[in-house]
């Protein structure tokens, strides 16, 4: 006679246990392999650093610029995912539309110089500053409307359908924007040289006034002191200090002060180690990108954490039905999220075009994908995660290109996604409940 049911069940259990053990061995092997690979990479990088610290630091400065642009795109991915659980693949194309909007208003309307139309005697610096801000804001508005329209017409009708339907629609919207843009009467499929809203200046040792460097350090140290003081007070049980510690102005001071003090010092002060003069440089484009990216992110943090809309967004991210029962208009909240994300991507598009001086109808694909990876690495759904993930992404790319292999830079950057997903499936910042949006 055959085996009894119990024996069969036992055999099956043993099989499963064996499978599990095989899986464990395989996982261990994979982990060991990755650890080995990681050590190898570390070794190569350490060697490169020891050989020429100046070039290494210069590469990191290059990566910073890239990282801050990715951050602006990644925020949109992360916010939209946080609320509607949709990976909006058309996000990179919103970025492209932002870049093109600024291209047309700059080269067609000269909008980056509009204050000079009103008052001819205005100093050049003020004209450019106000003009550039206007161009960025205008592109943000156009991109925000585009993102809202996309949500209203392509995603909202599918909200209660299986999630895969919305995902495929997102890919469709992405292709539509790309190839609609390629039509000869839209943007054409040519590579177009972009006109920057301001002239490029490259800062090297001695070309930055010590006041600017000192000011950045002052801002950073002051904010740090404030942060530590508040931290100490809140440890003591001071509730007001606990709420102030997350005040957006304090964050702004820490981030702006921290990044600017380091970058300005590196670029503007002559550093010499072991007879080697560090010939570092940073352009004003890098500084503008860093500054606007930080300011926009702090504003976003403020909106999400301190306003009624932000509260509604967090509630909708937590539980849409419950939020609806509490009287929150979830449709409007989602539209607002798309608008915020689209606006940030639009600003990213302007900054990217300013940095690389070229616009093209497919320019959004690769930065969009990389920002998506950055968002996943940082923990999709988490806003600080998007910033950290993007900075890591920028550094990975530049260091890979600089010291490992140039043709492999994208391969390495994208394999970061696989490694992070294996080690931290949630991404670096995970998904702390209540913080998700």
């Amino acid at each position: 006679m055959g085996k009894s049911a119990r024996e069969l069940a036992r055999a099956a259990r043993v099989d499963i246990a064996l499978d599990r053990r095989d899986g464990v061995v395989l996982n261990r092997l994979a982990q060991g392999l990755f650890a080995l690979l990681g050590l190898g990479v570390m070794y190569v990088l350490a060697q490169a650093f020891a050989e020429s610290p100046a070039i290494f630091v210069q590469q990191m400065l290059n990566g910073l610029q890239l990282g801050f642009i990715y951050a602006l795109i990644a925020l949109g991915y992360t916010m939209i995912y946080g609320i509607v659980k949709l990976i909006n693949f058309a996000h990179g194309d919103v970025f492209m539309v932002g870049a093109f909007t600024s291209f047309y208003v700059i080269s067609g309307l000269d909008l980056h110089r509009w204050p000079a139309w009103l008052w001819a005697g205005l100093p050049e610096g003020v004209v450019i500053l106000i003009g550039t801000i206007t161009v960025i804001l205008l592109s943000m508005v156009v991109s925000a409307f585009l993102a809202m329209a996309m949500e209203r017409f392509a995603y909202r009708p599918l909200r209660n359908k299986p999630r895969i339907a919305a995902l495929i629609t997102a890919i469709g919207v992405s292709f539509f924007l790309e190839y609609f843009g390629a039509l000869p009467f839209v943007y054409s499929n040519n590579y177009i040289t972009y006109t920057r809203p301001f002239e490029v200046t490259v800062y090297t040792a001695g070309s930055i006034s010590p006041w600017a460097i000192g000011g950045a350090w002052g801002l950073f140290l002051l904010s740090l002191a404030g942060y530590l003081l508040l931290k100490w007070r809140s440890r003591q049980g001071d509730l007001r200090a606990q709420s102030w510690i997350r005040h957006p102005l304090l964050q702004l001071g820490l981030l702006l002060g921290g990044f600017f003090s380091v970058v300005l010092t590196l670029a503007g002060v002559q550093i010499e180690t072991g007879g080697e003069i560090w010939d570092l440089s940073a352009s004003n484009v890098t500084l503008v990108i860093m500054g606007s990216s930080i300011i926009l992110q702090v504003i976003l943090q403020y909106v999400v954490n301190r306003t009624k809309l932000g509260k509604a967004m967090r509630a909708a991210a937590y539980d849409k039905d419950a939020a609806r029962l509490m009287g929150i208009n979830v449709d409007r909240v989602i539209a607002a999220t798309f608008a915020l994300g689209g606006g940030l991507a639009g600003a990213g598009g302007v900054l990217y075009a300013t940095a690389f001086k070229q616009v093209h109808h497919l320019m959004g694909i690769i930065p969009g994908l990389k920002a998506f990876v950055a968002a996943v690495v940082g923990g999709i759904g988490s806003i600080p995660g998007a910033l950290v993930g993007s900075l890591i992404m920028g550094q990975t790319e530049v260091l890979a290109a600089g010291f490992i292999s140039t043709p492999m830079r994208d391969a390495i950057a994208f394999s970061l996604l696989i490694v992070v997903l294996l080690v931290w499936p949630q991404g670096i910042f995970g998904e702390p409940p209540g913080e998700k949006v």
């Binding site: 490259v202 320019m363 260091l399």
Partner: protein, 378 residues
């Protein structure tokens, strides 16, 4: 069913009849021009057609070739393999043509050259740069297929020579798109010639076609501080690299190939740079100036490189016919192999693979304008 046979029969007679009639005509020599007159690169095709027609018109006015007038057939071959093959079959079988000028694109010229080879007629492509246009798969040279342009790698050799002799460059950095045959060919031949001339390639970095950020590579270039930065890519990528290199404070002279030849080249990004090209309308040689003047008079525009090469291709073919003394395509091919031609784009002789050995024009981007510097023979 019967009706369909009837239509087929009528069509067949229509196809065969003119072919019979055509072969009987001994009076005029027939040349077909196959060029893309529709689609993405229609402007390339129009320039090619205009250039070739101008050369034939001039020759007819001067009494024709071998005492006979030349009759031309123009077909739209759309820069595609299928269209080129059907246009080629049509002109050879139906119109009785034994000489073809075309195609513009390598992707169309290669399949066309296979038909030409099989049917024993003559082809000269003005601008197709792929080596396979004139070479069979087994490495032997096709018997009667030529081209009027130099093949891509040649530009790399000329650029290296110019950089060393005229610019005094001792070290060079080369940045190339690994996935693009054109770019890689130029870069590899540049390196070979530059090192053969005693120079040193201190940076050799590849990137991919989608890259927009070159800061990492350019930081390495800056650290190596070369005399020359060779960028053999198309203008779209060169615009990006050039602008970023200037911002990084790289002072190396930039140099490139005919991929730079575009009205969309960002002249501020490559200010002071040089590039190799097939020809320049500013070249003071009388052949060039006469051609530019005639072309302007005929069409009201300055001829571009495509028009020039098509004009040259037609002249090479007609000179070859005169030299051969008869209109047998194989005899003409033999004659061309041994000749030297002084045409607009330079002095041309053919190597064993039917590739022209000729000089290249060196142009410089200066104060936002492109000016002719020199004509360099290999």
């Amino acid at each position: 069913m019967r009706k369909r046979f009837l239509i087929l029969a009528v069509l067949l007679t229509l196809v065969i009849l003119p072919a019979c009639g055509g072969s009987g005509n001994e009076e005029a020599l027939k040349i077909a021009i196959l060029a893309p007159l529709s689609g993405d690169v229609a402007t390339f095709g129009e320039s090619t057609r205009d250039g070739a027609l101008l050369a034939i018109k001039e020759r007819n006015a001067a009494g024709g070739v071998l005492g006979r007038q030349i009759e031309t057939t123009v077909e739209d071959s759309q820069c595609s393999a299928e269209a080129a093959v059907s246009a080629g079959n049509k002109v050879i079988d139906q119109d009785g043509v034994s000489y073809i000028i075309g195609e513009v694109c390598s992707s169309a010229s290669i399949p066309l050259s296979e038909i030409v080879e099989a049917k024993g007629v003559f082809q000269i492509s003005p601008t197709s740069t792929n080596p396979s246009v004139t070479i069979n798969e087994d490495g032997s040279t096709k018997s009667a297929v030529f081209r009027a342009c130099f093949i891509d790698p040649f530009q790399g050799t000329v650029a290296a020579k110019f950089a060393q002799e005229q610019l005094g460059a001792k070290t060079a950095a080369v940045l190339l798109d690994q996935g693009n045959d054109y770019v890689r060919g130029l870069a590899e031949f540049f390196k070979e010639a530059f090192e053969a001339g005693g120079g040193e390639v201190v940076v050799w970095e590849t990137y991919t076609g989608e890259d927009q950020d070159f800061s990492a590579i350019l930081t390495k270039v800056k650290a190596a501080n070369p005399d020359l930065l060779y960028l053999p890519d198309y203008y779209s990528t060169v615009n990006l690299i050039g602008a970023q290199a200037k911002e990084k404070g790289i002072e190396a002279i930039m140099m490139g190939g005919d991929g730079w030849d575009s009205p969309d080249l960002d002249t501020s990004a490559v200010e002071g740079g040089y590039f190799t090209n097939h020809y320049s309308a500013d070249d003071p040689r009388p052949e060039v100036q006469n051609f530019v003047a005639t072309y302007k008079e005929e069409y009201g525009a300055t001829p571009d490189a495509l028009a020039t090469l098509a004009y040259d291709a037609a002249n090479i073919l007609m000179d070859g016919m005169e030299e051969a003394g008869n209109d047998d395509p194989m005899a003409v091919a033999k004659a061309i192999e041994g000749m030297t031609f002084d045409v607009v784009s330079g002095s041309i002789a053919y190597d064993e693979h039917h590739n022209p050995v000729k000089s290249a024009a060196i142009l410089q981007v200066e104060n936002g304008k492109i000016s002719f510097i020199d004509s360099i023979a290999p």
